[in-house]
């Protein structure tokens, strides 16, 4: 139910304080604005309900996609459709609501099965219903038992109890039930498992299997051998089975999968097999009697493979609210009164919020309270003021933190925060990244709410000031979408669309935008002359991205489609690695942790750089885990991978070995730096003791290196990677195999001493 506040005078605020819909929302306090999207979705639902009730053939299953941006009311619409169906069907509708995890279809199935396990009665009722049908058909043949058949079909008696009480042939009827379930679900193992639910003592074993565990021995002995969560395909197939079962019969079943875009973004990186299975699941749902609602951001449809999208029968795009609709909503909320609003102030509310329902409701909630507190009508300045308060609470700090993380992640840790291009405030850039010669660069401007003329003028002024001083690419980041009418001016001043901050997708969008800006700047400067100094930097960026994407892709399982170009990519990575120059250092995030090597001779530093890089390539776990803590889409992908793979003993052993290897190189490096420093501070060249000490250190490295079972790391790479992994591993062994000897040689050479 919506949450409502009381004002100081005890009057209840007619607007919900939280405009975030819950699927359990019900009751008289929920108000649905009958927008075009709502009307269209309702019509689809009505068609479905009529077909279910009429038991029409073919089965009346529907798949409806509801897409829209944040706050546009997707979840609200799903909840409304369930309420509507319940009202239309005298309460006989059953429904489940899932939030799709940003993970695999296996995780989606687990979420589904967990929900279902909490409502086992849904499944049990359907199985018993089928059993009752079978019994009734038989009992109806006799005049004496016909009343029994009627009671069975009406559901007033339990078919299991009937069989027991009247001593009927249980195994014969159960055999028929199993056959029937096989017809309904097209799956022999499910038919067997569901039948076992009617035999005492098997329920727990069956539900454990349903929720994704391997079948227990009592199930295996009865022919149930597969594990539902063994693959994404089996998990999706299982969802289809339940759709067929739950949708069977005259009672409607509605399944809502919310935030599906999150899952598909993750799934998009994986193999086609999973998407094929998802497509098949959609086909099964449509062929069942289930109403499936898929809700998500507009990306849900745009990023979906066309053949998969074609399986979705109906698309509904959530629309913005018009002034008229908001007007009607306010009247409905306020018992027919428009006060304290006016037509004009409502129009302004719609303009500032772009008609996004969540924004409209939040603003109305606060404006109503403010007007009551101040004892007057809502005015334009009040709307602006309250809007600013809402947006300021939106957390500019979070945006700044995310921008910094993204810049570091894509290799621009050299960014300058709060950069002033002149002495005026107008020349301020929130983040400036120098790229190319002549002080050119990319700038990120962060703006507060752009509610009125002055706000937009300020942005225009800033953008033009920066352009006047520097050749640059600019990006404006905004906390809330600016009103439509300001967009052309912003585009003109900044040079591109403003990037709207949304917690789920901001990091990815910013990374894409920023890379595009860097590329454009690069194109304006030929890759020669002074720009050559930037080349390693850009190489590093590409390398990091390539390595990270490669690693994530491998770990998350999208093997097949990547393998084809993987070799090329690896070759490129290795070429770049060979070009790594002293001072570039190891990949992101490791520089601070690891030993400072710059004091060493160039040749030795290069050896250590290569050693660290080799270790990094062997174990992407560190980068993966760092990403897992990021609150963005990349972080979700990494968390998915961590959950899926890191728990396996092989990975843990391999990561342990790789960690030790990393620590070993690091410790050796520290010892070498210390040794080199002490030697350098002393006049008179190397003493025999210095040589002995260096030899001892190299011996210690070799001894420990010998103890580390590198084959375990190989097993890690082979587990997650294609054939190229073996080559990587070989290269790492080449680098590390006689590492200490090379360091020894280089150090002595740098000190002008031969190594004998």
């Amino acid at each position: 139910m919506d949450a409502f506040d009381r004002d100081l005078g005890g009057e209840v605020n007619p607007y919900p304080s939280s405009a975030v819909a819950q699927i359990a929302d019900a009751g008289s306090t929920v108000l649905t604005i009958p927008t075009a999207a709502v009307r269209r979705a309702t019509a689809v639902m009505d068609t479905y309900l009529a077909a279910v009730q009429a038991r029409r053939q073919p089965a009346p299953g529907r798949v409806l996609a509801v897409v829209g941006d944040y706050g546009t009311g997707k979840t609200h619409l799903a909840a409304y459709l369930i309420r509507h169906a319940t009202e239309q069907s005298a309460g006989s509708v059953q429904s489940l609501h899932l939030n799709a995890p940003p993970d695999t279809f296996v995780s989606l199935y687990r979420a589904f099965a967990d929900k279902l396990a909490d409502r086992r009665e849904l499944v049990h009722e359907r199985v018993r219903g089928l059993y009752a049908d079978i019994l009734a058909t038989k009992l109806r043949m006799s005049r004496a038992t016909a009343p029994l058949a009627d009671s069975l079909l009406a559901g007033s008696i339990d078919p299991v109890q009937v069989v027991d009480t009247f001593g009927l042939q249980e195994n014969q009827f159960l055999g028929r039930l199993r056959d029937r379930l096989r017809d309904v679900t097209d799956n022999a193992e499910f038919a067997q498992a569901l039948t076992l639910l009617l035999r005492g003592g098997f329920e727990d074993a069956v539900w454990e299997w349903f929720t994704g565990r391997p079948p227990s021995e009592v199930l295996r002995e009865r022919g149930i051998t597969g594990t539902i969560t063994g693959s994404e395909a089996t998990a999706l197939q299982a969802m289809g089975v339940f759709a067929l079962l739950l949708g069977h019969g005259p009672r409607p079943f509605v399944l809502v999968i919310d935030e599906l875009d999150q899952l598909l973004t993750a799934a998009g990186r994986r193999e086609d097999e999973a998407l094929d299975a998802f497509k098949e699941m959609l086909r099964v749902f449509a062929a069942s009697s289930t109403f499936l609602i898929l809700a998500g951001l507009p990306d849900l449809l745009t990023t979906m493979r066309r053949d998969v999208r074609d399986r979705i029968g109906e698309h509904v795009r959530m629309s913005s609210l018009t002034v008229r609709e908001v007007h009607d909503y306010v009247l409905a909320r306020q018992g027919g009164q428009l006060e304290p609003f006016t037509e004009q102030t409502l129009g302004y509310v719609v303009e500032l919020t772009n008609g996004v329902p969540r924004g409209v409701i939040s603003l109305c909630h606060r404006l109503w309270r403010r007007s009551k507190d101040q004892g007057g009508a809502v005015t334009h300045p009040m709307v602006r003021q309250v809007a600013r308060e809402i947006y300021d609470a939106g957390g500019a700090q979070n945006v700044r933190a995310e921008i910094r993380q993204v810049l570091v992640a894509v290799g621009y840790e050299t960014y300058v925060p709060e950069y002033f291009l002149d002495d005026t405030h107008g020349g301020r850039v929130d983040y400036w990244v120098p790229i190319g010669r002549d002080d050119a660069g990319c700038g990120i401007l962060l703006a507060g709410p752009l509610l009125e003329e002055d706000d937009v003028a300020a942005v225009e002024h800033r953008a033009r000031s920066v352009r006047a001083h520097r050749d640059c690419e600019l990006l404006l980041v905004v906390l809330e979408p600016p009103p439509e009418r300001f967009l052309p001016r912003i585009r003109d001043a900044v040079g591109r669309e403003p990037l709207h901050y949304s917690p789920r997708s901001f990091a990815d969008q910013l990374a894409v935008e920023f890379k595009a800006m860097a590329v454009r700047l690069e194109e304006r400067y030929p890759l020669e002359g002074p720009l050559a100094s930037v080349a390693p930097h850009l190489s590093r960026l590409d390398r990091r991205q390539s390595a990270t994407q490669h690693m994530l892709s491998l770990l998350t399982g999208s093997l097949e489609d990547l393998r084809a170009h993987n070799d090329q990519q690896l070759a490129a990575i290795h070429r770049e690695l060979r070009e790594v120059q002293r001072g570039v250092g190891p990949p992101a995030g490791d520089g601070a942790r690891r030993v400072e090597l710059t004091a060493l001779p160039a040749g030795v530093t290069e050896l250590f750089d290569r050693a660290f890089t080799a270790v990094d390539l062997l174990t992407p776990a560190g980068e993966l885990l760092r990403r897992a803590f990021q609150d963005d889409t990349g972080g979700r992908g990494a968390r998915q991978t961590v959950r899926a793979r890191v728990r396996t003993p092989e990975i843990q052993s391999a990561a342990g070995v790789a960690g030790l290897l990393d620590a070993l190189v690091d410790a050796f490096g520290r010892a070498v730096v210390e040794w080199y420093r002490s030697v350098g501070q002393r006049a008179g060249g190397l003493t025999p003791r210095d040589r002995e000490r260096l030899a001892t250190m190299c011996g210690i490295f070799d001894a420990v290196y010998e103890y580390l079972p590198l084959y375990q790391v190989r097993s890690l790479r082979e587990l997650v990677g294609p054939a190229g992994a073996a080559r990587q591993h070989q290269e790492a062994e080449d680098v590390l195999g006689d590492f200490s000897a090379r360091v020894h040689r280089e150090l002595l050479a740098a000190l002008g001493t031969d190594q004998r």
């Binding site: 043949m141 042939q169 035999r199 021995e217 002995e221």
Partner: protein, 326 residues
């Protein structure tokens, strides 16, 4: 076989009314069987010798019994081999009653052949939802415990192996008197027919396992039993039946009462009840007719004969009982 299940309950003489005569004496329920505690408990001559007189030749149960007699007509081979007797048939078709009848007869037959036979009832020692290894272990331990209790083991060797069924069964004959034969009634195998292969192929000499299942024996298990058992198992079968056999069962029971004590079944009553090809089970008939006559025998005003309508009304009363249950 024989109409295998029968009730107890009102099996004895009908109780006289208070003061011995305010009500006329109630006739006994003709479908009650002496000694049984529930109306559908299977006949068991092993415990109540007179139950042998209650078996009615419905379906082809009599033929199954005769087949068993034939297989063990000369039981001397049991000195060298063990054997499995497998009774198959749907739930309520009288498998357990047939098993009890065969075991009872076999015990006597072995005695005639100079052997000492002991029937060991392990039918409750395993559950459907236990895995086969666990069931096998439970049965073996229970068997050895009973043998120990009955002091039939001449050495403790097999008893010490009670947790290792393979070893225990291999050593069991050596731990028994040379003339001792064991008739072991196994728990119903339900759909775990795979375990039947174990008992068929591992039956120790001088041990006869009786097993039953309500599920069809898969061809591969049948082949394994025929191929690998020391002596091919005895396969006995029971099944459902039509109204003629149902009538035969009902008349057999009603004939136990003096004519006119209680109304007879109308000639078509059961035909109307079991028609259109449906097969009834002995348990179903027993439960129906026991319940029906339990009501009739306490009525002061009884119909001349029982028709399908009486049966239907009885069903409806039971139905109301069911609907009243949570």
């Amino acid at each position: 076989m024989t109409g295998g299940v029968a009730p107890a309950g009102a099996g004895g003489p009908a109780p006289a009314g208070p003061a011995g005569g305010l009500h006329p004496a109630r006739p006994p329920n003709p479908f009650a069987v002496p000694g049984l505690r529930r109306d559908v408990d299977p006949l068991n001559p092993l415990r109540h010798r007179d139950h042998v007189n209650f078996y009615v030749p419905v379906d082809h149960t009599e033929e199954s019994f005769e087949q068993c007699q034939e297989e063990f007509g000369d039981p001397s081979y049991l000195h060298h081999e063990g054997r499995l007797v497998l009774v198959t048939g749907g739930r309520g078709c009288g498998k357990t009653a047939l098993t009890n009848r065969c075991a009872y007869w076999l015990r006597g037959q072995l005695g005639k052949a100079g052997l000492t036979a002991e029937v060991l009832d392990l039918t409750r020692e395993a559950r459907d939802n236990e895995a086969i290894p666990q069931r096998r272990g439970n049965v073996c331990r229970a068997l050895l415990d009973k043998l120990f209790e009955l002091q039939l083991l001449t050495t403790d060797l097999a008893y010490e192996m009670r947790d290792s069924p393979d070893d225990a069964y291999r050593n069991l004959p050596g731990c028994l008197d040379a003339q001792q034969v064991l008739i072991v009634l196994l728990p119903p195998s339900a759909d775990l027919t795979e375990e039947l292969v174990y008992y068929g192929t591992r039956a120790p000499r001088r041990v006869v396992f009786f097993a039953e299942t309500a599920y069809a024996l898969p061809a591969e298990h049948r082949q394994a039993l025929d191929r690998d058992s020391p002596v091919p198992p005895v396969y006995l079968q029971v099944g459902g039946f039509d109204h003629r056999h149902a009538d035969r069962f009902a008349q057999h029971r009603l004939d136990r009462l003096p004519a006119g004590t209680l109304p007879r079944l109308a000639p078509t009553a059961l035909e109307d009840f079991i028609d259109n090809g449906r097969l009834a089970t002995i348990r179903e008939m027993q439960r129906l007719l026991y319940g029906l006559y339990e009501e009739l025998r306490v009525q002061d005003d009884r119909p001349d004969e029982v028709t399908w309508e009486h049966i239907s009304r009885h069903f409806i009363r039971r139905l109301r009982d069911l609907e009243g249950q949570p």
